[in-house]
Symmetry: C2
Subunit: 419 residues, 2 copies
């Protein structure tokens, strides 16, 4: 029987959407990998009554309750008081925590004040979890067989406490059931068509393996989840099911789990011993960022030029003033000259170029906001395609960059066929 | 009395952290701006019983319950069935929705299948909310004075239904209390020092205005929230309180609400009539992306070069082979030559350069992973600073880029003092 966990994230800034709740996602990932089944995320405000109510319902539902937020030095933070009331305990001065805070301040040459000193006060009923990266310690409570863990809301502090303290303790305490996830990443087939193609296969899945479709604008992901007792056996069963997918949709599978399109393209380049350069206008560096997020990309990525000003398209990329004058910066010819120019100037085997109108301004009836040209070029072939995306600047940048990587992958596969 | 809202996001992919819950954040923002008080976010799995239980507790707590997820064409989606059971109703074929879906498929030249046809089945008890960007419609229910709204989980589809259908209806139905938020963005003062400086001022805040500290690695944000009846009056009161902050921490305030460091630097450049160029190595295009996220940046941003390969640092930026040979790519001299080179080659007034070891590989005892040099240069001055961040590639890229923008802002303010 798998241990069930609930994640409670505290903070008005989450409720009003001022920050995106990346903490809950990160904890969900780590707990899942540790074989703990996450059954709920709850976000509530910095209010005493809400914290007590959320704690009470969570402990009735889950064997582990993880709380983040509300442990900073400032006065809007009331989690510690709520925890004291929930456990019928009181705050005590904790010397080792105080020493650790003092040392941190000493190292950074900043004087400590009363608010920092208060952070060494912890509920008497808890085991203190050292925070290696900050001043608010984590806290571990046990009550009627339920484990309750409280951590600060600053993401990298929470992540350090989880990694160094919480996950090892949970793994040691629980002799739990096993779980195995694997996600198949596909592109080029709409979700409903994919579902039809896979219908017969899905019907044959054993009952302990479940399938979920995770659509997104650029890809459809298929997540297989197996539950049982033997992790290694689950892993093999899931892999066998994925093997069975190959004859059905093999050509549209570009990777697994956290693979990215950039990684998929990079693997193909690496296999050829080829390199890549990019020339960006409307994507403004984001395409290069997607590529350089990939560890080890220096083996196949040369670099890029963001030619935001038009005269730089000529000076750095060799786009002719005649092309810019006749067709404009957002055109088939400009995109192709940008790609060819960056391939030559940066001495790469493949190149991508993007040029478009990201918005919110700059559109015209002929070329509305969202109009984008993408060119990809390789040793013997090229594609140059026009797209019309939407009105949202951020989404246009993202979709253009992802589409460019799709086109690149498609081009490399075409070049591969020539050999 | 403000209407309270609860957001329920459905999907195992949220619980296991495969996706970050941006939907809840976006809805939280929009509801808050519409004067609705968001009191809870709940995320649960794609399971019938959990959906019913979450709905039952939410309607007891809130006047509006918004649900996303579980409305796609594939068989893991069971929200619609759960809604039928909750409202004691059944699925009916909805001709206008079917016509709209058919039209979408016709336009895109894709054949429709049975799964798409099923998407036109909606619970008999609901009002259908048109989905202008997808095939799964939104649904509006009312039960015992509580409004329950169900929308698909694809972010841009949900956003379209919220904007075009949900928010106008909620605003029309509710004659609610007013709320006003404003967030003051500061940098350069640690949270606890800021809290001490503001303690006396905070004590004088009227009870209907609350203060929250929102720390992050690069900035401390102070959010003021005022609640009352007259939105315009609240706006004025909050602005008066922010005025009172100026003598206390004025020099560390760089913006408000969703302002970014790039926008703050851009405003300063625009006021001078000056331009910017960037040369990136370890940040790989992310710095340029942060800059070009800012609408209108073409007025002050020339462009950038990502010189990932060392020979491109020489070819495109003029870093001398002697400097690279003697000091290495991650060094004071290389950073400064990169900044000077990009400023000259891209004809800008200011320039930033980043070079470092983002990780996970490439570190040495002398220059461990996380070692970064940042240079900023202007018409008469420059800074060139070394930082040692951590082991995480993604965070190193992010912190280097944000720190570079801080340094740039600092340099522009110094250059301004000369005039």
């Amino acid at each position: 029987m798998q241990v069930k966990a609930e994640i409670i994230t505290i903070g008005d800034e989450i409720l009003i959407g001022q920050i995106v709740n990346t903490n809950a996602a990160w904890m969900g990932q780590q707990l899942t990998l540790a074989g703990v089944e996450v059954v709920r995320h709850t976000s509530i405000g910095d209010r005493h009554g809400e914290i007590l109510e959320a704690l009470a319902t969570a402990v009735a539902r889950a064997g582990v309750v993880l709380i983040t937020g509300g442990l900073g030095p400032t006065r809007d933070d009331i989690t510690k008081k709520a925890l004291c009331d929930f456990f019928g305990t009181e705050l005590l001065f904790h010397q080792p925590t105080f020493d650790q805070i003092s040392e941190r301040f000493l190292k950074r040459g900043i004087p400590m004040n009363r608010l920092n000193r208060d952070q060494a006060q912890v509920p008497a009923a808890c085991t203190v979890l050292t925070n290696p990266l900050g001043t608010a310690p984590g806290m571990w409570f046990e009550k009627e067989g339920v484990i309750i863990i409280s951590m600060p809301g600053v993401p990298f502090e929470m992540e350090a406490i989880m990694t160094q303290e919480v996950l090892p303790r949970l793994t040691a305490q629980n002799n739990t059931g096993a779980i195995w996830h694997r996600t198949v990443l596909t592109q080029g087939i709409p979700e409903s068509v994919l579902a039809e193609k896979l219908e017969a296969w899905e019907t044959t899945l054993p009952s302990h393996i479940s399938l979920a479709y995770l659509p997104s604008p650029m890809a459809v992901r298929l997540r297989l989840t197996a539950r049982g007792n033997d992790r290694e056996r689950l892993r093999k069963e899931v892999n066998d099911q994925i093997e069975a997918l190959q004859p059905l949709i093999g050509e549209s599978i570009f990777g697994f789990d956290d693979d990215t399109l950039a990684l998929a393209a990079g693997r193909l380049l690496l296999a050829r011993g080829d390199t890549l350069a990019v020339a960006e206008s409307c994507t403004g560096g984001y395409l290069s960022h997607l590529i350089t997020q990939t560890p080890g990309c220096s083996a196949w990525y040369r670099g890029g030029v963001t030619a935001y000003a038009n005269d730089l398209k000529t000076a750095l990329l060799g786009v002719t003033p005649a092309t810019l004058g006749q067709f404009g910066a957002v055109s088939h010819d400009t995109a192709l000259e940008m790609a060819t120019g960056v391939k030559n100037n940066l001495k790469a085997d493949f190149a991508i170029a993007t040029t478009g109108i990201a918005g919110p301004d700059g559109g015209s009836p002929e070329k509305p906001v969202g109009t984008v040209w993408i060119a990809v070029t390789g040793p013997t072939k090229f594609f140059c395609e026009k797209y019309v995306f939407g009105n949202d600047r951020e989404r246009n940048i993202l979709r253009t960059s992802q589409t460019a990587l799709q086109l690149l992958r498609h081009l490399i596969l075409e070049e591969d066929k020539r050999v």
